[in-house]
């Protein structure tokens, strides 16, 4: 898809294109680092210092603190790298699916089960 085509919005969806990638590079790099256990431990010991080291923006820092996935996506986060961050907070893909779509986990699961019954 060309950068022009990317501009066409999909409702409820943020396409992770070059524009998003430019915003989120440092944030995603931090999240990528969580593939290593030692880095996860360092983050847990001192979240602020860890974020500092990767030079993420204040807005990103605040969204990390709030575990706010939608905000992080808007600030350039990519869902696959973010999953490594939210995983540390004990949130799996269904938890963050519910969080983003603004429903409870049970409602989110029920919606998926319902899709299976059509």
């Amino acid at each position: 898809m060309s950068s022009q085509e990317n501009k066409k919005a999909i409702p409820g969806t943020i396409v992770f294109d070059g524009e998003q990638a430019m915003k989120g590079y440092a944030l995603n790099k931090m999240c990528y680092s969580f593939n290593e256990e030692a880095n996860r431990e360092a983050f847990k010991v001192d979240e602020d210092a860890y974020c500092e080291k990767f030079e993420i923006t204040d807005a990103q820092r605040a969204a990390v603190k709030k575990r706010d996935v939608l905000a992080l996506l808007n600030l350039g986060g990519n869902i696959y790298y973010l999953a490594k961050l939210t995983g540390m907070f004990g949130l799996n893909m269904q938890d963050i699916g519910a969080q983003q779509s603004g429903v409870t986990l049970e409602e989110f699961k029920a919606k998926l089960l319902a899709a299976g019954e059509n």
């Binding site: 990317n6 943020i14 699916g97």
Partner: protein, 281 residues
């Protein structure tokens, strides 16, 4: 000469790995999903391929945005797995077939595919879950040699469906020209419709997935009418992983026999599919 005996399309959600790990195959949530794999298990047991080419996408384990390849192919003696920062219990290393990898890479680059060559590569759940699903016993996984083919669906622009189908065709030619006598199976993994990110998280599309499965054997070009952006709208941004299945399909003969198919919603946040295609002789 090497022979491509058939191809399998399959989902690769991490939850599947957990279910196998915890022996939940007969659990009501899982039963109709795992039942769909019985024909593939029987076929693999009967045909005993020597090598599996595994077309998948990395989800942020081996590749970061500093060096994000469109198409990467492994040429390592073995491939390691890891916990990905959050998830699955790692599986033991997978055995490569670097000679065949290099043959395929040589052939593809000459065929004007701009491959990233990987002589060391960690494989994530996009690779390990299908391996675990197809060959649930470790002893079987130790026997089969693997060749990872990793496709970018993390950072747009992704390769077009058309390019993926062509890559598959070129892989088919490459395998057919390898001198050793080997039976090769190709797996295309990922999808089907699902959306992990955004307010629309949880989106699936049974109608589209069903048509995709319906057309895959005899009319794979059907998918080419959609751009990746259109596909993201229709099947969700992660549903675009279905282009991996096109690579698998492209590698097979024009004529294939569909031996089985299954479709099930939901597994975790996804619509899960499996299809088994045999190359006509």
């Amino acid at each position: 000469m090497a022979r491509l005996i058939g191809g399998i399309g399959s989902s690769h959600v991490p939850a599947i790995g957990n279910a196998i790990e915890q022996n939940m195959q007969s659990d009501p949530y899982w039963k109709s999903f795992f039942d769909g794999y019985v024909p593939a298990w029987k076929w693999l047991e009967e045909r005993k391929p020597d090598v599996a080419i595994l077309v998948y996408n990395d989800h942020g384990l081996n590749f970061f945005l500093d060096k994000m390849p469109t198409f990467a192919i492994g040429a390592a003696p073995q491939y390691l797995n890891s916990d990905e920062g959050w998830g699955l219990k790692p599986l033991p290393p997978f055995q490569g077939h670097p000679e065949l990898s290099w043959h395929i890479i040589d052939s593809l680059v000459n065929d004007e595919f701009d491959i990233t060559m990987c002589q060391e590569m960690q494989v994530d759940h996009g690779f390990t879950v299908p391996m675990n699903l197809m060959w649930p016993e470790q002893a079987k996984r130790d026997q089969i040699k693997v060749i990872p083919v990793c496709v970018n669906v993390v950072q747009a622009p992704f390769p077009t469906a058309r390019r993926c189908l062509k890559l598959g065709e070129a892989i088919g030619r490459a395998v057919a020209s390898y001198e050793e006598d080997l039976d090769v199976v190709i797996l295309g993994t990922g999808g089907l419709s699902h959306q992990l990110d955004g307010e629309r998280a949880g989106h699936t599309n049974r109608e589209f997935d069903t048509e995709f499965l319906e057309k895959l054997s005899d009319e794979p070009e059907w998918l080419l009418q959609y751009s990746n952006l259109e596909l993201a709208e229709i099947v969700g941004p992660q549903g675009v992983e279905m282009i991996m299945w096109l690579i698998m399909r492209g590698a097979l003969n024009k004529q294939v026999t569909e031996l089985s198919r299954n479709y099930h919603i939901p597994i975790s946040n996804t619509a899960a599919g499996v299809i088994l295609l045999e190359n006509s002789a």
